[in-house]
C-alpha cells in the first residue's frame, strides 16, 4: 500500500476526512470504491474502543461562580460540562459539515426563511422522560427570553415563530439565513426537558453522561447514561472534569498521572516537555484569534491613517513565534481564516513594515502624545508580553505606543468594549456570518471596534440569504477587505488549540471547532486496556 494511501486512511479513520472524500481520493490513487470502503472499515476497527474505567480531564477556565444552566455557559469548563451531559440538534463535524444529532433531517424553503427539523424519536432524557419536538421548541423559546440571559440570544432572536407538530419542528426567521443549521450547533442550545424552564440548572439532557456531582470551580463528576441513544460514544463508566486553572499545576497533574487529558497548554513549555514520556501534545488549528481593538469612533483612532500605521507596525511573525511558540498562524486584520467555508485565499497578507507605518503615522497628523494600549494578563494568554512586543515594534516606527496593564479583575466589564484601545480575544464561530454578526455589524452589542460601515452591513444581509456559493464567496471577500483596510481590529495571530493527551487515552481526533475535540473528548475517548 502506498504511503499516501496510508496517510489518507489514517486521516479518514480519525475522522479528519469524510468517508466520501476518502473514497474519492483513494480512487485517484487507483483503488476501487469497494476496496476503499473495506480498507476504511479495517482501519477504524484497529482502534476498537475499550469500555469501562474513569476518564479525567483537567481544565483551565472554571470558576466557583459557574452554574449548570447551559444558557449561562461562557467559559471552557461550563462549555465542556454542557457537551458532556447534553445534546444539540446538530453538530459541526471536524470537516466543517453538519452532522445530525437530535435532529434527523433538515430542510428549508427556497428563500432560506423557513426551516424544518425532523426530531429523532425514542430518545430518553436522563430523568426517564421521552424527548419530544415540544421540548426542542421550549428549549429554543427559553433562550429567546431576555430573562434567561442566554449566551445564544443573538443566535435565536432572529427566529420569529417556532412550531412543534408531531416529530417536526418548524422555525420561521425574520430574514433569510442559509447558515441556520450551523447556528443550531451552538453549545448553549442543548435540549432540556420542558426546555429547562422550570429548573434550568437541573443538569438533565440526553447526553452520554449524567451529572452525579457538581462542585463549581472544583470538580464535576459524571456516570455513564445507560439508556444513551447513541452507542458509538460513552466508553468510560465514569468521567470527571477537574478544574485546574493554574498552568503549571495542570501540567504537573497530567505528568503525575492524575488526569488523562488537559486543555490550554502554555505553548512556551511545549518545547520543554519534548522527550518526557507518557503523553502527547496535540495541536489543532482553529478559528480563535487574539486581537488589539481600536474604537473607530474615538480619537485618535477615528483617523484611518493612524489605524493603518498601527496595523503596519505590528510584527506578526515574531508574535506567532514568541507568544504562540509557533502553534498558530499570522492574522491579516480580519477575523476569518482558512478554517471557515468560503474563505478567500487571494487576499494579500499584510506585512510588518515599519517604514510604511512611520509614513502612515506622519500622514495621520497625530500630535505625538502617548497612545495607550490597555491590557491584562487575562485578555489572552501572553497578552501583556504581546503588548510589550507591539510597543517595541511600534516605538521603532516612531509611534508613541504605551502599555497600561489592568488587573484581570473586572477587565471584561471595565475595559473591554469600553476603552478605545485594548487587548482581547475571540473564540471564532462556525461560519463567517455568525462571526461578523457577533462583532462587526453596526448594530452588534459586541461591536468592540465600533466599526460602522453601511456597505458592510448591506453585504452581510445579502450574503446571509445567498444560496449561490460563488456569489456568496465574493461578498464575503469584499467584507473581509473592508474590515482589513478600514476596520479597528489589529489581528496579529490565530491561535491553535494546544492540548495534552496521555498515552493511555484512545480515540482522540483533531477537531478544531472548539477545544478538547469540540468538547466531545470525554464522551468519545476511552482508556486503553
Amino acid at each position: 500500500m502506498s504511503n499516501e494511501l496510508n496517510h489518507l486512511l489514517a486521516r479518514a479513520s480519525k475522522g479528519l476526512m469524510s468517508r466520501r472524500d476518502f473514497v474519492g481520493r483513494a480512487g485517484a490513487l487507483g483503488v476501487s470504491a469497494a476496496m476503499a470502503s473495506t480498507l476504511l472499515a479495517t482501519a477504524a476497527r484497529a482502534e476498537e474502543p475499550v469500555k469501562g474505567g474513569l476518564l479525567r480531564a483537567g481544565m483551565q477556565g472554571g470558576e466557583s461562580t459557574n452554574t449548570l444552566d447551559p444558557a449561562l455557559a461562557a467559559s471552557p469548563v461550563p462549555f465542556m460540562v454542557s457537551m458532556t451531559y447534553g445534546d444539540t440538534l446538530v453538530d459541526v463535524s471536524p470537516t466543517n459539515e453538519i452532522s445530525y444529532r437530535l435532529a434527523e433531517e433538515i430542510s428549508s424553503s427556497a428563500d432560506a426563511k423557513e426551516w424544518k427539523f425532523k426530531i429523532r424519536q425514542g430518545v430518553e432524557f436522563h430523568n426517564g422522560k421521552t424527548m419530544t419536538a415540544e421540548d426542542v421548541v421550549a428549549t429554543l423559546k427559553r433562550h429567546t427570553d431576555e430573562k434567561s440571559q442566554s449566551g445564544a440570544l443573538g443566535i435565536v432572536k432572529g427566529i420569529t415563530d417556532m412550531k412543534a407538530e408531531g416529530d417536526m419542528v418548524t422555525l420561521t426567521l425574520d430574514g433569510p439565513n442559509a447558515d441556520l443549521p450551523f447556528l443550531m450547533a451552538d453549545y448553549h442550545l442543548i435540549i432540556q426537558p420542558g426546555g429547562g424552564v422550570e429548573n434550568p440548572a437541573e443538569g438533565v439532557s440526553t447526553g452520554a453522561y449524567k451529572v452525579t456531582s457538581f462542585e463549581p470551580g472544583v470538580r464535576i463528576a459524571f456516570e455513564k447514561n445507560a439508556n444513551d441513544w447513541d452507542s458509538t460514544r460513552g466508553h468510560a463508566d465514569q468521567v470527571e472534569i477537574i478544574v485546574i486553572n493554574d498552568n503549571t499545576a495542570r501540567t504537573a497533574a497530567l505528568q503525575s498521572g492524575q488526569i488523562n487529558m488537559m486543555n490550554r497548554v502554555d505553548p512556551k513549555i511545549v518545547g520543554l516537555l519534548k522527550g518526557a514520556p507518557g503523553f502527547e501534545v496535540k495541536s489543532a488549528a482553529g478559528r480563535g484569534h487574539y486581537v488589539f481593538i481600536m474604537h473607530c469612533d474615538a480619537a485618535p483612532f477615528d483617523n484611518k491613517d493612524l489605524r493603518m500605521a498601527l496595523k503596519l507596525a505590528i510584527n506578526r511573525d515574531e508574535m506567532v513565534q514568541k507568544i504562540l511558540g509557533g502553534f498558530g498562524a499570522v492574522g491579516n486584520d480580519f477575523p476569518i481564516n482558512s478554517a471557515y467555508p468560503l474563505f478567500d485565499e487571494s487576499i494579500p497578507q499584510r506585512p510588518f513594515d515599519p517604514i510604511a507605518a512611520a509614513e502612515a503615522y506622519k500622514k495621520s497628523g497625530h500630535d505625538g502624545s502617548p497612545i495607550v494600549l490597555q491590557v491584562a494578563e487575562g485578555a489572552f494568554p501572553g497578552a501583556v508580553e504581546a503588548a510589550q512586543l507591539f510597543q517595541q515594534s511600534a516605538n521603532a516606527a516612531g509611534i508613541p505606543l504605551e502599555i497600561k496593564r489592568e488587573p484581570d479583575d473586572g477587565y471584561w466589564t471595565n475595559v473591554w468594549n469600553v476603552s478605545p484601545f485594548c487587548a482581547s480575544y475571540w473564540g471564532g464561530r462556525p461560519v463567517q456570518d455568525q462571526m461578523y454578526s457577533t462583532a462587526y455589524v453596526s448594530t452588534a452589542e459586541w461591536n468592540d471596534t465600533r466599526f460602522k460601515n453601511a456597505r458592510f452591513d448591506e453585504l452581510l444581509l445579502a450574503a446571509r440569504g445567498e444560496l449561490d456559493q460563488v456569489k456568496r464567496k465574493a461578498q464575503y471577500s469584499e467584507m473581509a477587505n473592508l474590515v482589513r483596510d478600514d476596520g479597528g481590529v489589529i489581528l496579529p495571530m490565530f491561535n491553535n488549540f494546544v492540548e495534552i493527551v496521555a498515552d493511555n487515552v484512545g480515540g482522540w481526533i483533531t477537531d478544531a471547532n472548539q477545544e478538547l475535540m469540540n468538547g466531545k473528548a470525554l464522551q468519545k475517548c476511552w482508556l486503553k486496556a
Binding site: G58, E63, S64, T65, N66, T67, D69, L72, E146, Q149, L153, A201, S213, E215, P216, G217, V218, R219, I242, V243, I244, N245, D246, T248, A249, A252, A253, Q255, S256, Q258, I259, D408, D409, G410, W412, T413, N417, E445, W446
Partner: protein, 318 residues
C-alpha cells in the same frame, strides 16, 4: 470580681462590638464599590429596563440601612442569601469550603506551631552556636521564597519527579480521612515552610530578650539547667509576643492561603472568595469577609486572654 476575669469579659465584649463594626465596614465598603450588583450581573447586556427589574427583584431600591439590618440579621441566623452568579445558597457553598480550609489550616498549625516553638527554644538555648545557626539558616531560606515558587518547586520535585505524593490536593465529599490526609501533604509542607520562620524567630528573639533580665540571672545562679531556666522562667515571660505572632500566622493559615490553593488545586475559601471578587458577586464577598473577620477576631481575643493570663504583673496587679 477578680480583675483578670473582668479583663477577659471586657475583651469578649469588645470583640463582639468589633465584629459589629467590621460588619458595617464590610457591608458599606462593598456597597461603595463602583457599579452595583445588578449591573455586575447583567454585564454587557444591561438594558435600562432589565437593570430596573433586577434591582427591584434584589431589593436594591430599599434604604441602605434597612438592607444592612436585614443582611446582618440573616447572617446571624445562618441565612447568607444566594450567590448572584449562580443562584446557589452561600451558606451551603461556604460550609464545605470553610471545612476544607479549616482542615488544611488545622494540620498545618498542628505541625508548625509546636515545631516553631521548639526550634525557637533550642535556638535560644544554643544562641550563636551551630544549632542556632542551622535552625536560623534553614527557616530563613524557607521564608525567603515567594509562596508560589516554593509551591511549584515542591510540586515538581515531590510529585512530578519522585511521584511520592499526588500533585493535586483535590478533596471532595465522600472521601475518607486518610485519603484526605494524603491529598493535603504537599500544601501542608508549603504552608509549614511559609509560617514556620516567622514564629520561630519571634520565639527566639523574645526569649533572648527575657534572658537578659535580672531574675533569669538569679535562676542561673541558683544552678538550674539552661533548658529549665528557659522553659520555666524565660518562656512564660516571653509568651505575649510569641502568642501574638502565632495568632497572626494562624489567621494567615485560614484567610491568606489563596496562592497555595491555586497551585495545589485545593477547594478552600481563598479560591472561592477570589473567584467571586472578580465577578463582583457582592453577597459572597460580604459573607466571606464576615467569616474571615470572625476567625481573626476570635483568634485575637484568644491571644489577648493568653497574654493577660501569662503576665504575672497583670495577673497580680499591685
Amino acid at each position: 470580681m477578680h480583675p483578670v476575669i473582668k479583663l477577659v469579659v471586657q475583651r469578649l465584649a469588645l470583640g463582639l462590638l468589633l465584629m459589629l463594626a467590621v460588619s458595617a465596614l464590610i457591608f458599606f465598603g462593598v456597597e461603595a464599590l463602583p457599579g452595583d450588583a445588578a449591573q455586575a450581573m447583567l454585564g454587557q447586556s444591561a438594558t435600562p429596563e432589565a437593570l430596573a427589574n433586577l434591582r427591584e427583584k434584589m431589593g436594591l431600591n430599599e434604604p441602605m440601612l434597612w438592607r444592612y439590618g436585614h443582611w446582618l440579621f440573616g447572617f446571624m441566623t445562618g441565612d447568607m442569601g444566594v450567590a448572584l452568579t449562580n443562584g446557589e445558597s452561600i451558606a451551603k457553598a461556604v460550609g464545605g469550603r470553610l471545612g476544607n480550609t479549616l482542615f488544611l489550616a488545622f494540620w498545618a498549625a498542628l505541625i508548625s506551631v509546636p515545631l516553631a516553638i521548639t526550634l525557637g527554644l533550642v535556638a535560644a538555648r544554643y544562641n550563636g552556636r551551630w544549632p542556632d545557626r542551622l535552625i536560623s539558616g534553614i527557616t530563613l531560606a524557607t521564608i525567603s521564597l515567594p509562596e508560589f515558587v516554593a509551591g511549584y518547586l515542591v510540586l515538581y520535585i515531590l510529585a512530578v519527579k519522585l511521584h511520592w505524593f499526588p500533585a493535586m490536593s483535590m478533596v471532595f465529599p465522600g472521601m475518607g480521612v486518610f485519603e484526605r490526609l494524603s491529598a493535603i501533604i504537599l500544601p501542608v509542607i508549603v504552608l509549614v515552610m511559609v509560617v514556620l520562620a516567622h514564629m520561630m524567630r519571634m520565639t527566639r528573639a523574645a526569649i533572648l530578650n527575657v534572658m537578659q533580665s535580672a531574675y533569669i540571672e538569679t535562676a542561673e545562679l541558683k544552678g538550674l539547667s539552661p533548658l529549665t531556666v528557659i522553659w520555666r522562667h524565660a518562656f512564660p515571660n516571653a509568651i505575649a509576643p510569641v502568642v501574638n505572632v502565632v495568632m497572626l500566622n494562624l489567621a494567615y493559615l485560614v484567610v491568606g492561603v489563596v496562592v497555595v490553593e491555586v497551585v495545589f488545586v485545593y477547594p478552600g475559601m481563598g479560591q472561592y472568595l477570589v473567584d467571586h471578587v472578580t465577578k463582583r458577586d457582592l453577597p459572597v464577598v460580604q459573607a466571606c469577609g464576615m467569616i474571615f473577620a470572625a476567625v481573626y477576631i476570635g483568634l485575637n481575643i484568644f491571644a489577648d486572654v493568653v497574654s493577660i493570663l501569662a503576665n504575672p504583673r497583670l495577673r497580680h496587679p499591685k
